[in-house]
């Protein structure tokens, strides 16, 4: 099309060039080149992330916030520099609002135990959606057991979309906390979180967004969203495992008691009285994951060098292509057909259990996730034990989609 040739158009996204940054993509699996379609479970890491971690471990490692010696200062600078990088990435006001955690699960548990548990009482309500990952269900069930408060669940429709009207009806003055996914990990549905946040806050509720599946696929600006809390994992954003981020509005974090006690989270300790450290360190007991933080910061540099919007547009093209290709196969049923989706294509094949499908695809070198995706209530809603899920990242290509379609043909042959 002529419009695409205009000088104002951005350069086309070069996924082949991107692939060269990910050495693991050269792996052969069962005699076939790896086709990695499981980035929603964990993305791969590019060379700049691997090198940043290696560089930290090789040249800068010592414990942070402790020593006057040169390496301790270097480690502290690297760790706190990563915090500032993350603040910029999600546009938080201050690094005091950026808490390092192990991942999204720990971020949610921190809010459950340090925000919700001390405040909520019998009669109070926590509101989630029927799309949530177990990590955004179980911590709230634990708070309900601990405090006597009640868990409410906003329903979804057969396309896998949140019923916004039903959600709004469930909001009431007893709603103290709303916890919701930004993007569903099982179905790919993008939730209208800005509206959800504004509506919940108008009832005085505090809102936590589980951004694990959103941050890799969209520009997230926590202030523009108005989120009270927002949490995500490094390893789904091309960063290392064991590192994640909890963003919280400073006034909320400041009013919360610490979650875990130990070193680094204190100012003074005596057997009579301990004073806690300032934000953000109040919530970071013990020696943190410095190399993980450095790797995550490098991952954010990498993502921004490609362009968050350019990655999102590329993945959207692949999602649309794959959706169209699979819709043409009569045995395939796509699960989750929301109008607004990101990166995830969940499906079943008639007569072939998802677990068998996973094995056959793996024999062809195609890595997809099969199972309940840690979202058993979503599977129950659709009356399924499991689905197969293909998910896309910046390094996937149209060839990967073709390989998936070809491997599905193989499954049909085996189970003919």
């Amino acid at each position: 099309m002529a419009a695409n040739l205009s000088l104002a158009a951005p350069p086309p996204f070069d996924a082949e060039r991107v692939r060269r940054d990910f050495p693991i993509l050269d792996t052969m699996v069962n005699g076939h080149p790896l086709v990695y379609l499981d980035s929603a479970a964990s993305s791969q890491r590019p060379l700049p992330v691997l090198r940043a971690v290696e560089d930290y471990e090789t040249h800068s490692h010592a414990n942070v916030h402790r020593g006057v010696h040169a390496l301790s200062q270097a480690a502290t600078a690297a760790y706190e520099g990563a915090r500032e990088r993350i603040r910029r990435f999600i546009n938080a006001r201050s690094t005091r609002e950026i808490i390092f955690v192990r991942g999204t699960t720990e971020g949610i548990n921190l809010i459950a135990q340090a925000y919700a548990r001390p405040r909520l009482r019998a009669g109070d309500e926590i509101l989630i959606s029927a799309l949530e990952h177990h990590a955004n269900i179980v911590p709230w069930q634990m708070v309900c057991e601990q405090t006597g408060c009640t868990l409410k669940v906003a329903p979804i429709n057969r396309r896998g979309e949140l019923l916004l009207e039903e959600f709004l009806k469930l909001l009431n003055p007893r709603t103290r906390l709303v916890a919701m996914a930004h993007v569903s990990n099982a179905l790919g549905t993008v939730l209208p979180v800005k509206r959800i946040i504004a509506a919940a806050q108008s009832f005085g509720a505090v809102v936590l967004i589980d951004g694990a599946q959103a941050v890799p696929h969209s520009r997230v600006d926590v202030r523009a969203l108005g989120a009270d809390f927002y949490t995500f994992s490094g390893h789904k954003l091309y960063g290392p495992t064991g590192i994640g981020v909890l963003y919280g509005r400073e006034e909320l974090l400041a009013a919360m008691p610490p979650w875990q006690g130990g070193g680094d989270m204190i100012l003074t300790v005596s057997f009579e009285k301990t004073t806690y450290n300032e934000l953000p360190w109040k919530f970071e007991a013990g020696t943190p994951n410095m190399s993980g933080a450095v790797g995550l910061a490098a991952a954010m540099d990498y993502v921004e060098s490609l362009g968050v919007e350019a990655i999102a547009a590329h993945e959207q093209r692949l999602l649309q292509l794959a959706t169209a290709e699979l819709a043409r196969l009569p045995q395939i049923e796509i699960i989750g057909t929301a109008a607004h989706k990101a990166s995830v294509l969940s499906f079943t094949m008639k007569g072939v259990h998802p677990h068998d499908l996973g094995t056959i695809l793996d024999a062809e070198g195609v890595a997809v996730r099969t199972g309940h995706h840690c979202a058993m209530p979503v599977m129950t809603f659709f009356g399924l034990p499991a689905t197969a899920r293909a998910s896309f990242g910046c390094y996937n290509t149209e060839r990967d989609v073709a390989s998936l379609v070809q491997a599905l043909g193989k499954a049909r042959e085996v189970f003919a």
Partner: protein, 147 residues
């Protein structure tokens, strides 16, 4: 990695047309098995005549390996006594897990499961029904999990 070794005709046939599929009520022993990894669930029902399994059925939802394995198991154990079933389970377990397991004539059609050992993550699919049968025979009523 040969898919034909895993999905042999016997396996595909028993997946498509599971034998002894359904419930027995009342049963002398029943148990439910669950594989949280893939969501497989199956129930095993047994009618005992002394030490002997006079009748057996299973029902549930699972992958081809777990369904076929359960179907083959019900055919293999019907009419056998507890000690013979235990001995057979040991042979099946060896078949599923030991790379050097020699074909054993006593296995009969169960030998079709030998391809599973090339796919370690699928061993639990094939063994779930046997653990569930074990629970049904040992405890009368129980729920077991592969995790």
């Amino acid at each position: 990695m040969d898919l034909k070794e895993l999905y042999r005709d016997v396996i595909l046939d028993h997946n498509r047309h599971p034998r002894n599929f359904g419930r027995i009520e009342p049963a002398d022993g029943r148990a439910e098995g669950h594989n949280p990894l893939c969501g497989d669930r199956l129930s095993v029902f047994v009618v005992l005549d002394g030490e002997r399994v006079a009748d057996i059925r299973f029902e549930g939802r699972g992958c081809a390996i777990s369904t076929a394995s359960a179907s083959l198991m019900t055919e293999a154990v019907k009419g056998k006594d507890r000690s013979a079933i235990r001995a057979l389970f040991d042979k099946v377990h060896a078949l599923l897990t030991r790379p050097d397991a020699a074909p054993d004539g006593a296995l009969g059609k169960l030998a079709a499961l030998s391809g599973v050992r090339e796919f370690p993550v699928r061993v639990k699919c094939a063994s779930l029904c046997w653990h569930t049968l074990n629970a049904a025979l040992e405890h009368g009523a129980a729920t077991i999990s592969t995790e």
